[in-house]
Symmetry: C3
Subunit: 275 residues, 3 copies
């Protein structure tokens, strides 16, 4: 797995996949910059009159529920991606905090338009049960994946993957990635990730870049994204401590680390457990 994940990263740096993102205004700049840092190319259009055209020329499509007003554009783009067999990555931001967002996610999933789901535990559980779990964009403490509930959580993620036909990347202190057959757990990262906005959105964008360059290996691409984010979170945190900096520098140093990471760096640091 380590070798394969290193290749995912290298292939992305070589192929420069174009990622079309329909995403929220809060973190859109970070999303574009992390795609570029990983070697991709970013376009963020959401006008209904051009999105299908743009998706058709892209290698992956990233849909973030924070861009609620672009619902129609999301559907047009998702259908265009399906026709071209391009991976569609769904970020169900705050799916449990608003009925509207949950419903939109369900609509995309039921139509078989989603290749990979990347969300936190509250968001993923909300999609599974249809219930509202979160108070906002952050994970609810009760929902969190811990070492204690890990095997049960992994079982649920795997089940959700089989139900939807999508690879699922549930991220948090522990990340779980499953394609319904194989399930991986990744540890590490940095607590400081929660003190910046956009860590989740950036992980989704990174997943889209890796999937765009590796459309035949979506499970491995999702594992790579998780592994890169955890590794770079650790590198950024170490640097921020050395320099006596705070959360805004952490964000900068996180993207910096992604831009400097090679496949072999990642292979040397990656810790993946296959369940």
């Amino acid at each position: 797995m380590t070798e394969c994940v290193a290749q995912i990263v290298e292939r992305t740096l070589q192929k420069r996949p174009m990622v079309h993102s329909i995403t929220n205004n809060v973190t859109v700049n970070d999303c574009a910059n992390i795609i570029l840092a990983a070697g991709g190319s970013a376009i963020m259009a959401q006008d209904e009159r051009e999105v299908a055209e743009i998706t058709s020329r892209s290698d992956a499509l990233s849909l973030n529920m924070g861009a609620l007003r672009a619902q129609e554009a999301m559907l047009l783009s998702a259908h265009a991606a399906k026709r071209r067999k391009r991976p569609v990555i769904l970020d169900p931001v705050a799916a449990g905090a608003s009925r509207l967002r949950g419903e939109m996610c369900a609509r995309l999933l039921e139509a078989g338009l989603v290749s990979v789901v990347r969300g936190n535990a509250s968001e993923v559980w909300a999609l599974m049960t249809g219930a509202q779990h979160t108070l906002g964009v952050e994970v609810n403490a009760l929902d969190q994946v811990t070492e204690q509930n890990l095997s049960e959580s992994a079982r649920r993620v795997s089940l959700f993957s089989r139900e939807t036909g999508a690879v699922v990347l549930l991220s948090g202190a522990l990340d779980i990635v499953s394609d319904g057959k194989c399930t991986a757990v990744l540890r590490g990262g940095s607590e400081m990730m929660r003190r910046i906005t956009g860590a989740g959105c950036m992980l989704t964008s990174l997943t889209a870049a890796y999937c765009g360059a590796n459309p035949e290996n979506l499970f491995e691409a999702a594992v790579a994204a998780s592994g890169v984010m955890k590794t770079c979170g650790e590198l950024a945190y170490r640097r921020v401590c050395e320099e006596m900096e705070g959360t805004a520098s952490f964000r900068t140093r996180l993207i910096d680390a992604v831009s400097m990471l090679t496949g072999s760096d990642l292979a040397a640091k990656l810790r993946v457990q296959i369940l």
Copy 2:
């Protein structure tokens, strides 16, 4: 006051208030990040179909006139906040530069929907007189609060607070905070604040975070926000000079400083004059 303000900051770090912001696209990422740096949690939704639901689950609502197209969403959210007795913080960005913005602010204030107003002198004077004072988002030199016109300016701020029933935080080289009975003046900060976009918006967001965690002490929360911004502006400026950096690093180091500040740090540095 110093002791109380330190507690405001500490309580915010502990309670993690959720702040719902309806704000402009220019500085929305900085606003979210400074709320997180202060210990809060940020959600920035502005779709009319979900804003009332989201405000109802939040601890404070921050309304920024830069989000003009979200006028309807602002009204829905402000009414939801009022029903739940949650503080509403109004940032009248460029209220004096466009009739539309001035009218929207007046509408919110007249309906008694605003708990705290945070603006620069041109914006606050424009709200008081209905006249157009500024050429844009920055303060007009003629409007500025100086040591010479301080007592007259403080009197006007106090009057505006009594007229509107809102705490008023007028920020600039000198900040004035008034609840109509008590008026505080804060000095310090950094001139570099004016060379970055979003310093005002970030102060509004910080005010919303402190108000969200301290809804019984809105005046003190506004003083805390002013004091934190001035203190962190000084810390950031010192660091930027040491490192021979410019304005973009100043922005990063400003948010860094907020994320590292404790209540006792603030208490040690705060200079508040009660008029």
Copy 3:
């Protein structure tokens, strides 16, 4: 030319031109911050109800095709700018990747509403031929200006300038600036520019700031913007290498460099070839 360009930069720091930008959400914060770094003042309104009013009070108008939904606002503002004889700077982002964007640019150009066009080679060639050249927001390798095709490229840029009556700034590894009579080439900059989002948008914003403060010298203002971006790109790249940082720090240090640059710094480093 060197002396003149240094004066353009100094005059901008003194005059503090207000730039009204109608731009995309991805890089809007960087655009505002680089305008402020250059000494200007930034307002980013795009509501049709207020844009003409805001443009009328501004020194320059910057239109970025990434803000597609603001088409009507762009036309209102462009007409307001023309009435007041204020320079209008057009950034045809991805004009070759979407019919809609190309058509909107053509409409503005044909109506004689554009004073300066700032785009990459794919975008400029697409505007000239009406054909679709790019796959996205980045330049197509085949379109790129090189030392080999430089004189032919310069001839085409000059021709496009004469056809449209606008100064044209085509940026890339080599920048070409032409007003149809005089054509300048600028070399240098940093390869890292392509690994961040917004380098092109920021150059457009910088051009708008310099044009706003120097409306009688649009050609020289465009040369200044090109020269500042290349010089600051080099300074930022050197610093990032020294500090062992990545692309996100490069972005910060680029804006830092603009905020610290004086006219005489620029004069000392500038390399302009007049063809």
